[in-house]
Amino acid sequence: MDYTKLTDQEVVAHARAGRESGYRELIERYQRPVLSLIYRLVRDRELAEDLAQETFIKVLNALDRYDPRYKFSSWIFRIAHNTAIDQLRKREVATLSLDGSPHADSPDSVEASTLVAVSEDETPEEYAASRQIGEEIERAIGLLRPEYRTAIVLWHVEGRPYDEIAQIMEVPLGTVKTYIHRARNELRKHLAHLRC
């Protein structure tokens, strides 16, 4: 079954009809965005993957409750956001983990929790430079409030419009605009030392 030309709603319909391949297509479409969003909230690679897994299990087991009039992406991002926020409330995760989980207590666990990004072909110098800039940005995002992080990642990385972000975060549209505006200004301050 070729799912590439189907919308999310159509793939959901296939999954609801009992086709496992439909479920796997939804995982394939959203595993990277969901993992990336959660990672930027909790900043722990291993924990992010566990929470992403939990998010997918929640979503896929509740497919019969999904209303196709709304975007599937809004639904899954909302559950991902809530799952990560719940985790943050349970446990303070405050240290940036580009170089491994703050909770890693052995070289193996550090390696296992280190961020692995999808990168374009780069020379070693370009890679080092972009990695350093990437680390700085990730670090700056990590200094934002969790709700600012979600809003900024959804707008800038996922390209989601303001109204969808408002649906995902279950806050008014004006609040989302405020979050993003304040987050950008904070990021500019945190990244000011990178300006030449």
């Binding site: 595993q31 930027r40 500019r188």
Partner: protein
């Protein structure tokens, strides 16, 4: 106040880079930018931030992520899907299977044709005579069966009706003929059961295939 008039606010510059200004506002701002190095610098800083955020990578899950998720997911299969799958599995997917099904379907024809051919080799039996006898039997059988079915429908007690129908059928048709028919049906039933067994119990050869992704 005059400074406000001369330079757009940082919010407007941010909105300009974001692309959320109206065409008219954008035109006014761009005309200002042409001659204002300070605002140009501000815009460049916003652009650098937007570019940096847009370049943030998506993370790859570790290998086996989808399998681990699916291990925790219950795939609901509606009865319509289960029936469709059962029907799909009953359809042969090999040449051997099709040969068996064809044999199964053509067996009654072979039995009847062989019987007719054998009867025609008897010296006292002609084709016209055989047709006369067979059509007579067929007509009588259909009439008798219709009568029995009507009687069965008229009866209220089901078991009693079935028993009366069977005994009546035996009485009107004859035990020997019914035995021959029963033997043929027994053979056909065993054959069809075997075909069903081969198609239902063995693992299906048509499997859904998934694209393997390098993660």
């Amino acid at each position: 106040m005059s400074n406000e008039i001369l330079h757009p606010t940082p919010d407007r510059l941010e909105a300009y880079v974001e692309g959320s200004l109206s065409d008219a506002d954008r035109a006014v701002l761009e005309s200002h930018l042409v001659s204002c190095a300070r605002c140009q610098t501000e815009v460049e800083e916003w652009r650098a931030l937007f570019a940096a955020l847009a370049s943030l990578p998506l993370l790859e899950p570790s290998p086996g992520f989808a399998d681990r998720v699916m291990a925790g997911v219950t795939v609901h299969r509606p009865w319509t899907v289960r029936v469709a799958e059962l029907i799909r599995r009953l359809i042969p997917d090999t040449t051997k299977g099709w040969v068996l099904v064809t044999a199964f379907l053509s067996l009654p024809m072979l039995v009847i044709g062989g019987s007719v051919a054998w009867l025609l080799t008897r010296p006292a039996i002609t084709l016209q005579g055989l047709w006369f006898v067979l059509s007579g039997w067929l007509t009588e059988g259909v009439v008798a069966l219709a009568g029995r079915v009507a009687a069965l429908i008229a009866e209220n007690t089901m078991l009693d009706s079935i028993w009366r129908g069977l005994t009546g059928l035996v009485a009107t048709t004859g035990v020997l003929e019914l035995g021959a028919v029963a033997a043929v049906f027994a053979v056909l039933t065993m054959l069809s059961t075997w075909i069903l067994y081969r198609n239902l119990v063995r693992p299906p050869t048509r499997k859904e295939t998934y694209v393997t992704y390098p993660f």
